[in-house]
């Protein structure tokens, strides 16, 4: 139970915010957000300590510390603990950058907004934990449903409602497809436990646990298995906005309230990638023979990066631009996913990239939030002359832009470096994909720095200084510190990511 600490915190936080919603009339929600942040902060610190403890103990001992009925569906390995802690961190940052929004902008249900963020984060944590198809599906749904509500929180705004409806419809369809794939797999093997499935699909032998359950073995090249896996890929593709399942993403990001967008751009995406790691990389990747899903995902990965970046160049609304940018980042992470043959680099690369992505994307969005709280708009001309109105915001944007584009010395560079290292592995040899990746990194500089151009080179119509809100300001500061401090701390980061991933190999 000890190792479920982050989930318990998140659950408590969500329930607490729901209770708070009963007493919260009108103003005052900002205070709750601040409390929520501090709870998350304490949780993150505790989570990191637990993580160190778990890495120290090793997977066997960690498993023994957990009651058996939990361990059956909930993984308690260091990797899942890491992702739970990441979910806590995302939740904390989201509380922080939503502070001014729930206090001043959102008129109805401000406390519910916070509760939904907590519940969605709980979903992310549970996705990371899932060791069973059914748990996984439920957790993903928790993330998604909270997301639908979050995007529709401004319910007097048609755009917000449109976003919510679109997100809901697409999300429901994608969940259905994924569930269909899962049911195919279950129908063929008779198992939902991921460890059993790993042995049953394509490994050619069953461990004791599989034989007891009366599981059928199938070949990983069985057309029905491939269909099932591809259905899951499609379903998860919607969640992480992989091309061609990305259409909802810009519209939803644009319409949803900005803090909700900021959260949606990191939260559900992290959840989607954790699910991909668990399902595709660890379960449905036979140790010998071709990996059934690798080829399609490979092409979609190249397509995702390129389309995301190229279309982002044409955007004039910053939220839309960041939406396409987040699509592109899914593409970069997918490089590591398809490089799964690189045993000692692929998983650490994903871990590292997600850490960097959370930091830089939250940071970039916090800049957008800070300005949108005051100006009420997000088009690129609102940023004209920002470097004189608020140097803090402008220079913070430059750092985040560098990180998003993968220019050193920022966390984003480390993520990209590791991803490309995995792709150039002698066992993987995806040279062309790496070239596509770096070409995209160059394209992305254009639109990230186009915003910097408006901030620095263009004179603005308005010149009065901007007062950056406390919450958003702190969220920017924390992300900024994280983005920069990870470079000197790179060795620590590598050890951390590698040990998390290595321990997981024996799950």
């Amino acid at each position: 139970m000890l190792f479920l600490f982050p989930e318990l915190i998140l659950c408590g936080l969500g329930l607490g915010a729901t209770v708070a919603a009963l007493f919260c009339r009108g103003r005052g929600a900002g205070r709750w957000a601040l409390y929520g942040f501090f709870v998350c902060l304490a949780g993150v610190v505790t989570g990191l300590c637990l993580l160190a403890y778990a890495i120290d103990l090793g997977p066997e001992a960690t498993g023994q510390l957990t009651p058996e009925f939990i361990a059956r569906t909930f993984a308690v390995d260091p990797l899942s603990l890491f992702f739970s802690t990441l979910a806590l961190a995302v939740c904390g940052l989201a509380m922080l950058f939503s502070m001014e929004f729930v206090e001043e902008v959102l008129e109805e249900h401000p406390a519910e907004f916070l509760a939904l963020i907590a519940f969605a984060s709980l979903g992310i944590a549970c996705v990371a934990r899932s060791r069973d198809l059914i748990t996984l599906f439920f957790s993903l749904e928790l993330v998604s449903i909270s997301g639908y509500l979050l995007s529709g929180m401004l319910r007097r705004e048609p755009r917000s409602l449109e976003a919510a409806l679109k997100y809901f419809l697409i999300g429901a369809v994608s969940s259905a497809i994924m569930l269909f794939g899962m049911s195919l797999i279950y129908g063929l093997t008779g198992a939902t436990d991921l460890r059993v499935l790993r042995d049953a699909v394509g490994e050619g032998h069953l461990h004791a646990v599989g034989q007891l359950a009366g599981v059928r073995m199938v070949s990983s090249q069985d057309p029905m298995v491939i269909t099932g896996i591809l259905c899951i890929v499609v379903g998860l593709g919607f969640k992480i906005a992989m091309v061609p399942f990305h259409m909802w993403c810009p519209d939803v990001y644009e319409g949803a309230p900005t803090p909700a967008t900021a959260f949606l751009s990191v939260g559900p995406k992290a959840a989607g990638f954790v699910a991909i790691v668990r399902l595709l990389m660890l379960t449905f990747a036979p140790s010998s023979g071709p990996v059934p899903w690798a080829q399609p995902v490979l092409w979609l990965c190249a397509l995702t990066m390129t389309l995301g970046n190229v279309v982002a160049c044409r955007q004039t609304n910053l939220k839309r631009m960041l939406a396409y940018s987040s699509i592109a980042h899914s593409g970069y992470i997918l490089i590591a996913v398809v490089s799964l043959g690189s045993a000692d680099l692929a998983l650490p690369a994903i871990v590292m990239y997600l850490i960097a992505y959370v930091l830089m994307n939250v940071g970039a969005f916090s800049v957008v939030i800070a300005l949108s709280n005051i100006e009420g708009r997000e088009d690129i001309h609102a940023y004209n002359g920002l470097s004189k109105r608020s140097p803090y915001l402008a220079y913070a944007w430059v750092i985040f832009a560098m990180s998003l584009a993968g220019v050193p010395p920022t966390a984003g560079f480390l993520g990209k470096l590791y991803v490309f290292m995995a792709a150039l592995d002698d066992r993987v040899r995806l040279y062309w994909l790496a070239v596509v990746g770096v070409a995209n990194a160059v394209i992305s500089v254009w639109y990230y720095f186009r915003v910097a151009r408006h901030m620095f080179f263009v004179e603005g119509v308005r010149t009065e200084p901007i007062r950056v809100g406390r919450g958003a300001g702190w969220a920017i500061g924390l992300s900024l510190a994280g983005t920069l401090v990870l470079v000197p701390l790179f060795p620590w980061l590598i050890s951390f990511a590698t040990s998390a991933a290595q321990v997981l190999g024996a799950w």
Partner: protein, 512 residues
């Protein structure tokens, strides 16, 4: 007590200075300027001390600093200088100092301006002293961002925005290719993660290209070579990757152009010498002729285009392409003299082109135009300016007794040797025609520079400029060290050439 880490101090002193400057209130512009200048002057002193403490006649790295940083993937904090990098390490604070002195006249966003220059200096010094490729790459990329802002914010509106992003994208495109090639080299430098290395000297010993061939990847070494080469060639810039340079130079503020031409271009040339022959000896030999041809095109094409320019700053920019072509040519020859000449040319060009851009800036400050045709007869009213201009132009066109002459002579000797095999070297280039044609480039340089002198300084005085003031003391002070350096190196090149020689020999041995 451990030895004083002088190279780390050189790299990080400007950065510390930048942080200090950040805390000076925005209104106290003079304090900002003085603090920045003091920082750069201090690092110039440090660089001089470092140079003085180096032994002559040693080929290997000196003043080395090595500390474990990221052992998991073989990255260390490794700095060092030798005969090739030290002149450039010294040149960096020198040119920056003069550029910042000239920038005393800047009024707009002073604090940010000086902070960007300090960061830039830090990054450039870092590139010259880094012996770990990861560190090298970080410094290499960090140098882009301050330059982007220097061009974009303080450049000539409105085209500077375009020039800034073009500069950024172009150079970044080159460096990401380099990154991929670098990772590929890293992959084949050892069997497991921890045993691989990013250390330049280690990589040279282990020859990852052999590992690539052993893994059955026959074309990968060549691809990696071109990945590195394109990354460097864009920075140099070598034809056909040069098109960012005229835009960036013309639109940048004067001090920006000075640093860009005087120092940033040298990053490319330096990296070519340091990395290409040592990591890719076989590929270098195969590609030498191609590289030589590109260099030759840069020399002749750059000079011809310079001749056709109506814009003074653009003319100087294209002349840079021509002169940097000599650097590439010297490297392509692979001979000791060629590499020696390339380093010498980089140093000399750093002095001369900085002076030329300063002169152009001084003129612009008074007349607000770069159009050569709008000037004329300035020699009558601004004699000091006229004298300095002629002096620098003579240096730039390679007049004997000026540094440019020595540098180009050495490159030509190296190229000739590499063409004929005279002097015990392998005939890497295969024909002496490279040397013959390069001489033509020198003639062209003389033609466009003399013609410019004629059009700007001689003839009838245009009435617009009748009231033009001659150079101020500050401006003369900025130019005087450059002129002195040019003359000194031209008349007495021995010490510098001797200093470069052992390291050039060591590099040359890889390919000869």
């Amino acid at each position: 007590m451990a030895e004083f880490p002088i190279l780390s101090a050189l790299v990080f002193l400007p950065l510390i200075g930048a942080v200090v400057v950040l805390f000076i209130p925005r209104e106290r512009a003079d304090a900002v300027k003085s603090a920045s200048l003091a920082t750069v002057a201090a690092s110039l002193g440090l660089a001089a001390m470092a140079w003085a403490s180096m032994g002559l006649g040693t080929a290997g790295m000196q003043l080395e600093e090595k500390a474990s940083w990221i052992p998991q993937i073989g990255i260390s904090y490794h700095l060092g200088v030798d005969g090739i990098s030290m002149p450039l390490v010294f040149l960096t604070p020198l040119v920056t100092l003069l550029a910042l002195m000239y920038s005393w006249i800047v009024e707009d966003r002073v604090k940010e301006y000086f902070v960007f220059f300090l960061i830039l200096q830090s990054a450039m010094t870092g590139v010259f002293v880094a012996l770990d490729m990861f560190l090298f790459y970080i410094f290499w990329e960090v140098s882009l961002v301050p330059m982007y802002f220097l061009i974009g914010v303080w450049g000539h509106k409105p085209r500077c925005e375009y020039a800034a992003i073009k500069f950024f994208l172009y150079t970044l495109a080159g460096s990401v290719l380099m990154l991929l090639a670098l990772i590929a080299c890293w992959w084949y430098s050892g069997p497991t993660l921890g045993q691989r290395t990013f250390d330049l000297l280690e990589l040279a010993e282990r020859q990852p290209t052999l590992g690539m061939s052993a893994a059955g990847l026959a074309t990968l070494p060549m691809l990696c070579f071109w990945g590195f080469f394109i990354g460097f060639a864009i920075k140099v810039p070598c034809f056909p990757f040069h098109t960012w340079l005229p835009d960036a130079h013309v639109e940048a503020p004067t001090a920006g152009s000075v640093v860009l031409a005087g120092l940033l271009l040298k990053l490319g040339g330096y990296a070519m010498i340091r990395i290409l022959p040592t990591l890719f000896p076989t590929q270098f030999k195969e590609a030498a002729v191609t590289v030589g041809i590109l260099a030759l095109i840069s020399i002749i094409y750059g000079s011809l285009v310079a001749m056709a320019q109506p814009n003074l700053k653009k003319l100087i920019a294209y002349s840079s392409i021509g002169h940097m072509g000599f650097v590439t040519l010297g490297i392509a020859s692979g001979t000791v003299e060629g590499i020696q000449g390339a380093v010498f040319q980089m140093f000399s060009h750093g002095l001369l082109t900085s002076a030329l851009f300063l002169l152009a800036g001084i003129l612009y400050e008074r007349a607000h135009t770069y159009e050569i045709d709008r000037y004329g007869g300035l020699g009558q009213i601004v004699p000091v300016y006229c004298g300095i201009f002629v002096f620098i132009a003579m240096g730039s066109l390679g007049l004997p007794s000026m540094s440019g002459f020595v540098a180009e002579l050495w490159v030509l000797i190296g190229t000739y040797n590499a063409g004929t095999g005279v002097g015990g070297s392998t005939a890497l280039l295969g024909t002496p025609w490279f040397a013959y044609l390069a001489v033509g480039g020198i003639l062209l340089a003389a033609a466009y520079l003399l013609w410019t002198v004629q059009r700007v300084l001689m003839g009838d005085l245009k009435p617009d400029w009748a009231a033009m003031k001659d150079m101020t003391r500050l401006e003369v002070a900025c130019l005087a060290p450059l002129m002195a350096g040019t003359l000194w190196l031209g008349c007495y090149p021995g010490p510098l050439l001797a200093f470069i020689l052992p390291s050039a020999k060591a590099i040359s041995q890889w390919v000869i």
